[in-house]
């Protein structure tokens, strides 16, 4: 199994480790609910070093990225981050990504861990099949460790370790700066719905930076956070996760990321299929469901409107904040309107759930 530079640190903290897409990762330290609440109320520290990083450089970097991704990368300015995705020609999703613009000829993609090799191969293929030259792709995933510091106390914690003016660093922007003596990328982004940062640093500095952040955060109530709470935090906000809401079989128009699908920009891989799908009517819609009865919706459970199966749960959990079951589901478009009453088949019972536009937790 693959290990991040913080593997031993997690073990010393007493983490429970699991195989996450081939990576030996912490699923919990003190308990999922406790960790979840720490991020909502104080701060949490996540090892996300398993995520992949691919650099795109060269004079035609932007032209290539416009061809590769569905969002409009021309809108980015230096130091800005964009949520985007790559699609196959048939319209399914290769991966969802964040894109960092350093300058007009240098960008960095952050991609999902278990998709890194697939994504890098896909980028090389799209480049080779295009008429675009003077673009260099570099898989830098092994060079970077990535640590996410998330929660309402994140800025207070980080400000004690850096001279960077964090108050001026606005959401979905980044800068390069020194934290605890180490040069790194400081990005005001995250996957929890809270304020916070994602730090991209040299893998060789991961342990010392983790320790520095843990020490700086302890007085603020910062806890280390595992993948269990990472999932409940993102689900309460309704964020898509590749392999669940997003896949080769699900288009971005179906998956609830139509807002990043810029069908009016110049040609990109998948555009024709997506334009056709939109014209014909998107066959399924990703919706949020809030359970009206006790019972936890889980991935794969069928969703019904009366006797008709209208879809399936793609992710579900008990919301630690709301203390009710919440889910994302892919359903027929005629039952996708907010406040529609649906039923989830949980084992041998049907339990009521209401279509609710995420975020479930504001």
């Amino acid at each position: 199994m693959k290990k991040t530079p913080l593997n031993q640190t997690h073990r010393e903290l007493g983490a429970r480790m699991v195989d996450f897409g081939g990576w030996d990762m912490p699923v919990q330290y003190s308990g999922v609910i406790n960790e979840h609440q720490a991020v909502r109320e104080a701060a949490g520290l996540f090892d996300v070093s398993h995520m992949g990083e691919v650099e795109v450089s060269g004079a035609n970097a932007l032209a290539f990225i416009q061809q590769l991704t569905i969002n409009d990368a021309a809108k980015l300015v230096d130091g800005q981050v964009q949520y985007s995705a790559m699609c196959y020609p048939e319209g399914g999703v290769v991966d969802d990504v964040t894109l960092y613009r350093f300058n007009e000829s240098r960008y960095l993609f952050c991609v999902n861990a278990s998709n890194t090799d697939k994504d890098f191969a896909w980028m090389q293929q799209v480049l080779a099949e295009s008429a675009i030259n003077d673009v260099t792709l570099t898989n830098r995933s092994d060079e970077f460790a990535q640590i996410a510091l998330q929660g309402p106390k994140a800025e207070v914690v980080l400000s004690g370790l850096t001279d960077v003016a964090l108050a001026d660093l606005v959401y979905y922007h980044f800068c390069e700066g020194v934290v605890a003596g180490v040069e790194m990328i400081i990005s005001r982004t995250g996957y929890t719905g809270e304020d916070g940062f994602e730090l991209y640093l040299p893998a060789s500095s991961a342990v010392e930076i983790w320790q520095a952040l843990m020490a700086a955060g302890a007085p603020q109530g910062l806890l280390p956070i595992g993948l269990g709470a990472r999932d409940t935090l993102r689900l309460e906000k309704g964020y898509a996760l590749y392999g669940h809401e997003l896949s080769k079989e699900i288009s971005p128009l179906e998956a609830g990321i139509a807002w990043i699908t810029k069908l009016d920009k110049d040609d990109f891989v998948g555009k024709a299929a997506l334009v056709a799908q939109k014209a014909a009517g998107v066959p399924r819609r990703r919706v949020g469901l809030v359970m009206q009865e006790r019972g936890i919706p889980r991935e794969g459970y069928p969703v019904f409107a009366g006797d008709r199966q209208v879809g399936v749960i793609t992710s579900g959990t008990m919301s630690p904040t709301l203390k009710v079951g919440v889910a994302l589901a892919l359903v027929d478009p005629d039952v996708a309107k907010a406040d529609t009453d649906l039923e989830v088949a949980i084992r041998n019972r049907r339990m009521g759930g209401k279509v609710t536009r995420p975020p479930f937790v504001k």
Binding site: V32, N34, G228, T232, M318
Partner: protein, 128 residues
């Protein structure tokens, strides 16, 4: 971790406390720890007939759904209603407040075949 001497245990990590014809059933400290935060419990109705080895209920943690199996055959006499509102009791008190059901055993001798505390601890030492 604690495994009371006076209880019997199963390979599926349930515990049983026998009081004449009645058996009180719950899940072990090892099981609750492995599950993590318990957020949902589904129990049978009073009067339900349980067959040894068959699932009689469900516990769900944040991440996972797990069946609970009947250690012995019998008829459900009482269920722990408190767990419906507060399933986390299973984490905080697996052997006392976190009991799940009481059954009237079909044959009280069935309990003798279950594992002792020592045997159970040897089993989980192997598993972990």
């Amino acid at each position: 971790m604690d495994f009371p001497e006076e209880f019997k245990y199963t390979e599926e990590h349930e515990w049983v406390m026998v009081e004449e014809e009645i058996a009180v059933i719950g899940i072990s400290d090892f099981a609750q720890d492995a599950l993590g935060d318990v957020v949902f419990v589904e129990l049978p109705e009073v009067g339900a007939v349980l067959e040894a080895g068959k699932a009689f209920g469900v516990v769900e943690s944040v991440k996972a759904v797990s069946d609970i199996y009947a250690p012995i055959s019998g008829t459900v006499e009482e269920i722990n209603e408190d767990l419906i509102e507060a399933p986390e009791i299973i984490n905080t008190s697996p052997y006392v407040d976190g009991w799940m059901i009481k059954i009237r055993m079909t044959d009280a001798a069935d309990a003798d075949a279950l594992m002792t505390s020592d045997q159970y601890q040897a089993l989980i030492a192997e598993e972990s």
